[in-house]
């Protein structure tokens, strides 16, 4: 199979440093060599290809933008974004795995954990020895996480957690869960705190979510916590209020904004190559006006998305990035990627419904990405509130 050469219509490569390009190319090659050869089977067989976890850890993709003192790669955010882009060029489910491990589990331990918690977990999580999942969303509280009804009640020597969490990526694979729960009244969103809960704690159970038609190479579960006792040091001491989990989501959404561009690049690359080879009515379909306009739209969307993520990454590295700017990029890039994947699938004709082509797999995956980590619509409302000063929710 030919190696992926990237899509770079605006010479965005020249906006990247040598290290950033080298990191991107390393992950790109790994995706070609090790992820793509196994993804079809995993997708059709509906399993997370776990053999990739130690290999991703060796490369250093987990929590790659966290400091070296905790066993992480210490990369800047543009390099981190490029890793997410390349992983999702392979599959959104694999990128989701890495996002959850890094941005939703390692990040809160890094940001809200004690020094002991950081030392105990971060190096082992970077090494892929401890897998995490992130429990915020509940069956009845998705877009409105502040309404959660999971509670943590203080006891003499720790806490007792009760509640249920839904749509939890890595839920059945994880060794630990970062559980968000109210420590006060249900009306008090300020009482939301984060807890590190080992998944083998009595009363904790995870059940695979059945019947998914998207992210099939990823593990999605429902978590139930029934009188789960954890010691005092399970609490993330610096977590406080709904703002804490939302800060984690900003990290993850940043990676999604990049990742979606990767999925779109994969679909465009496949469509372009197919359009030059597939002959119909005596010539390649790439010579037909309708397919040329399709390809032009895809390329325009991808170039837009690349520039947005690049700029967002530089803002994050400069320390001036605002969460609303992440909303704009997540919203635009995922929606763009959904469009590109669907148009690529259509360009591929009948072949486009087969798993040996990637477009329909990406198309189905991206519907989840469109919906998770703040739906497309909710990000629209965040932006609406930001520009008008009036909250619509």
């Amino acid at each position: 199979m030919a190696r992926f050469q990237g899509v770079d219509y605006y010479d965005i490569d020249s906006l990247l440093s040598e290290e950033e390009r080298m990191i991107r190319d390393t992950v790109r090659q790994w995706v070609d060599d090790e992820l793509l050869p196994v993804i079809e089977d995993a997708y059709i067989g509906r399993y997370l290809p776990k053999q990739l976890i130690p290999r991703m850890a060796e490369l250093g993709v987990f929590g790659a933008n966290l400091p070296e003192e905790y066993g992480c790669a210490g990369l800047n955010n543009v390099a981190y974004g490029l890793i997410m882009q390349e992983l999702e060029r392979g599959d959104s489910g694999i990128r989701s795995f890495a996002s959850v491990q890094g941005a939703l589990c390692m990040y809160p331990i890094y940001a809200f954990g004690s020094e002991e918690q950081k030392q105990a977990y971060l190096p082992r999580m970077a090494a892929g020895e401890v897998i995490g999942c992130f429990g915020l969303t509940e069956p009845d509280y998705g877009s409105n996480p502040g309404g959660m009804i999971t509670r943590a009640v203080k006891t003499e020597d720790g806490w007792v957690l009760n509640g249920a969490k839904m749509w939890i990526t890595n839920g059945s694979t994880a060794d630990i869960a970062i559980i968000w729960a109210k420590t006060g009244e249900l009306s008090d969103t300020k009482s939301i705190r984060g807890f590190i809960v080992p998944t083998d704690t009595p009363g904790f159970s995870a059940k695979d979510q059945k019947g998914k038609l998207s992210l099939l190479a990823s593990d999605t579960s429902e978590l139930v916590l029934q009188d789960v006792h954890v010691p005092d040091d399970a609490l993330l001491p610096k977590s406080g209020g709904l703002k804490s989990p939302l800060m984690c989501l900003t990290q993850a959404r940043f990676g999604i904004a990049w990742g979606a561009v990767g999925a779109a690049m994969a679909c465009y690359d496949e469509a372009l190559s197919y359009s030059k080879q597939r002959v119909m009515f005596g010539g390649p379909i790439g010579g037909k006006q309708i397919q040329q306009v399709r390809l032009a739209e895809m390329l325009t969307g991808i170039t837009n998305g690349q520039l947005l993520s690049w700029r967002l990454g530089r803002l994050k590295d400069e320390g001036t990035m605002r969460p609303e700017q992440v909303s704009l990029a997540k919203r635009h890039n995922v929606s763009m990627a959904c469009d590109v994947a669907r148009e690529a699938r259509r360009l591929l004709g009948g072949n486009g419904i087969l798993v040996e082509y990637s477009a329909m797999r990406h198309m189905a995956n991206l519907e989840s990405v469109y919906t998770y980590e703040g739906t497309h619509d909710v990000h629209g409302l965040i932006l609406g509130q930001d520009v008008t000063g009036i909250a619509a929710y």
């Binding site: 290290e19 080298m22 390393t26 490369l59 250093g60 070296e68 790669a73 210490g74």
Partner: protein, 251 residues
């Protein structure tokens, strides 16, 4: 025991890159072309790293002759795990013997057990620089090696030869050129890429690179002629066989 290696590497166009001949007709157009560490040299870097790791001590120095942009190629090898790099800067492209003289001039003042090369560079396919350097230095050489061991002041190398393999023994220090075999190149880890920035990369002018060979002209391979349809279905088989036997002479 410790193994000290010097690995000579070259920056070459990516195997997937479409290379065009430049306006001078003697070189290739470099604009817009992605360059990589020569894949055969990756085997050599990997072999050096493996032998250093197996010995538990030693060091791996990577060396390249070329323009300033070859520093990036050296950093790729540093990211894989090499300890130090040397770039011998030449003003323009040098021909094989000239490159060999530059390398020999640099290496003769250094201490090493193994002088490793890729069997060939994928751009000019010369396959001669390694053995030429060995000749200039007066050290033994083995080419097209798939695997080797180092013990007791000598290297034992398995060479790929027609229809089988050959095992040769070389006194250290020696030169070895690597082909695909036991040394599957590792990925540079992301930490390795970051660490590469902090490793020493010495740049100095290439010295002593004279040669009597000059590239006169580059040209593309002849275009393949269009295929021919001899007929359809079983009826076409006798004619196809006749053509394969008499015209193409492949049967």
């Amino acid at each position: 025991m410790r193994v000290k290696s010097i690995v000579c590497v070259k920056r070459v166009p990516d195997t997937e890159a479409r290379v065009r001949i430049a306006a001078d007709g003697q070189s290739i157009e470099t604009a817009g072309v992605k360059f990589v560490l020569n894949p055969y040299d990756e085997f050599a870097v990997e072999a050096a790293l493996k032998h250093k790791e197996a010995a538990g001590a030693g060091d791996v120095t990577v060396l390249s002759v070329g323009g300033g942009e070859s520093a990036e190629t050296l950093r790729t090898a540093l990211a894989m795990g090499a300890d130090a790099a040397v770039l011998l800067k030449s003003a323009g492209p040098l021909e094989g013997l000239a490159v060999a003289r530059v390398i020999a001039e640099e290496v003769k003042g250094r201490e090493y057990d193994l002088l490793l090369f890729g069997m060939k560079a994928i751009d000019d396919d010369l396959q001669a620089v390694g053995p030429m350097v060995a000749e200039l230095l007066g050290i033994p050489a083995a080419t097209a090696v798939t695997e080797f061991s180092v013990e007791g002041g000598k290297a034992t190398a398995t060479r790929e030869i027609e229809g089988g393999s050959e095992v040769v023994e070389l006194k250290l220090p020696c030169a070895i050129t690597l082909t695909k075999g036991a040394y599957e190149p590792r990925y540079a880890s992301l930490k390795g890429i970051m660490a590469a920035k902090k490793k020493p990369l010495e740049e100095k002018p290439a010295a002593g690179g004279e040669s009597g060979v000059k590239v006169e002209k580059l040209s593309y391979p002849a275009e393949r002629s269009a295929g021919r349809i001899v007929g359809e279905g079983p009826d076409a088989v006798p004619e196809l066989l006749r053509l394969l036997r008499n015209e193409a002479k492949v049967l």
